[in-house]
């Protein structure tokens, strides 16, 4: 049963950035930009251990019971490079965090302090609710998603 589900739901996800809008506060592209660990205390506190009720997500994969971390590729956003790491437990994302993000101008503080933690929670909730896609007001998260997606791809979720 589980194997059948796995075969049917074998998935690929690809993502590109399009319709690039102009930016006003960019400090150009940050090639080989700063790498820094996001302080553990910076906001998000992702809900621990995905509290899903009953219905599990549709993607089963070859879920190892233990947890593992996967780090996505570096995505160039309008703010600079963003790189995301996810923690996977029993085939589900239980946490995500930015391991690299821009910090070159005042605007970055806003982005790092607000956007990333919010997105962290979204990601965790999205997974725990077994949702395939999210419709909402137009996303501004650019490369964050790309980087996250590559982490997800590595995890074969």
């Amino acid at each position: 049963m589980r194997r059948i589900v796995t075969v049917i739901l074998s998935t690929i996800t690809t993502l590109v950035l399009l319709f690039s809008y102009h930016t006003s506060t960019d400090s150009a592209t940050v090639a080989g930009g700063p790498v820094r660990q996001l302080p553990a205390a910076s906001g998000s506190n992702p809900p621990s251990g995905s509290s899903k009720s009953g219905s599990s997500t549709s993607k089963s994969g070859s879920a190892a019971a233990s947890s593992a971390t996967f780090t996505g590729g570096v995505a160039d956003t309008r703010w600079g490079p963003v790189q995301v790491q996810i923690t996977v437990q029993s085939g589900k994302i239980t946490a995500s965090r930015a391991v690299q993000y821009p910090q070159n101008n005042g605007r970055d503080a806003e982005i790092n302090g607000f956007a990333l933690p919010v997105l962290d929670q979204e990601v965790v909730q999205q997974q725990s609710a077994g949702i395939d896609s999210v419709s909402g007001a137009t996303v501004t998260s650019d490369g964050y998603l790309q980087s996250l997606q590559s982490a997800i791809d590595q995890a074969h979720l």
């Binding site: 993502l15 102009h22 309008r78 609710a129 896609s133 996303v139």
Partner: protein, 236 residues
């Protein structure tokens, strides 16, 4: 701001080179749309029209096709949708962006729908189109795609879930980008809270209606129910 567009394929051959090729072709269609319609790339046809350098009648047929759709959208929504928007300097110019995203996503989805025994979900910056034929050869549809509707008051929450096999889900609101939705009736950008989601066969029309209903007058939902057959609204 860039727009993330993701394509998600389900099917036994999802990881085959043949599928990867079709996905790449779908992305090519999206890139083509970006080249023609971007208001930020200075050499796009739309940018040239905006600067008065290109006569719309001489533009690419796809641009003309979109312009016609924009006109139709304006009529159907009684003017709540418009392709004439103020630019950074407040000058009103041709700007089909509000329709192009859905149009381009539908077009790419048309290519993905050619995939045998696969189903797809394309998310263009928060607007979603799904389709495909997975499982239909075996006598029944595969599992539906579950599309979460973001709670506009708390974007870390999912307010509702829509399940569908085919069609589009578009949401308009100010939660992500602030007041960026333009109300042609008042000439101002709308700053209300909440969001409007429209679900229906075409993402382009779902998106047009979501925007129109968000900015439009109280009488517009009635018009919507009269002319937008097969579409439904979720207001949050």
């Amino acid at each position: 701001m860039g727009m993330p567009i993701s394509i998600h394929i389900r099917g036994e051959d999802a990881e085959s080179p043949a599928v990867a090729r079709v996905v790449e072709e779908a992305f090519d269609l999206l890139r083509e749309a970006d080249r023609l319609f971007s208001t930020y790339q200075q050499d796009s046809e739309v940018s040239r029209i905006r600067r008065g350098e290109l006569d719309p009648a001489q533009a690419d047929l796809l641009v003309q096709q979109v312009a016609v759709a924009c006109q139709r959208a304006g009529e159907l929504t009684q003017g709540a949708f418009t392709d004439v928007l103020p630019d950074d300097d407040g000058v009103l110019r041709f700007d089909p962006t509000g329709l192009v995203k859905g149009w381009a996503a539908d077009r790419a989805a048309g290519r993905l729908a050619d995939l045998p025994a696969a189903s797809f979900c394309l998310n263009a910056g928060g607007d979603v189109v799904v389709g495909g034929t997975i499982g239909e050869a075996n006598g029944g549809p595969g599992p539906p795609w579950r599309v979460g509707i973001e709670d506009p008051r708390d974007r870390s929450r999912i307010a509702e879930v829509v399940e569908l096999h085919h069609g589009g889900v578009a949401t308009s609101g100010t939660a992500a980008r602030g007041a960026h939705l333009y109300d042609p009736a008042t000439g101002t950008f709308v700053d209300r809270t909440g969001s409007v989601t429209v679900v229906g066969p075409s993402l382009m029309w779902a998106d047009v209606w979501a925007t129109a209903l968000f900015v439009g007058p109280p009488s517009l939902p009635r018009r919507f129910s009269e002319v937008a057959d097969g579409y439904r609204v979720i207001s949050l």
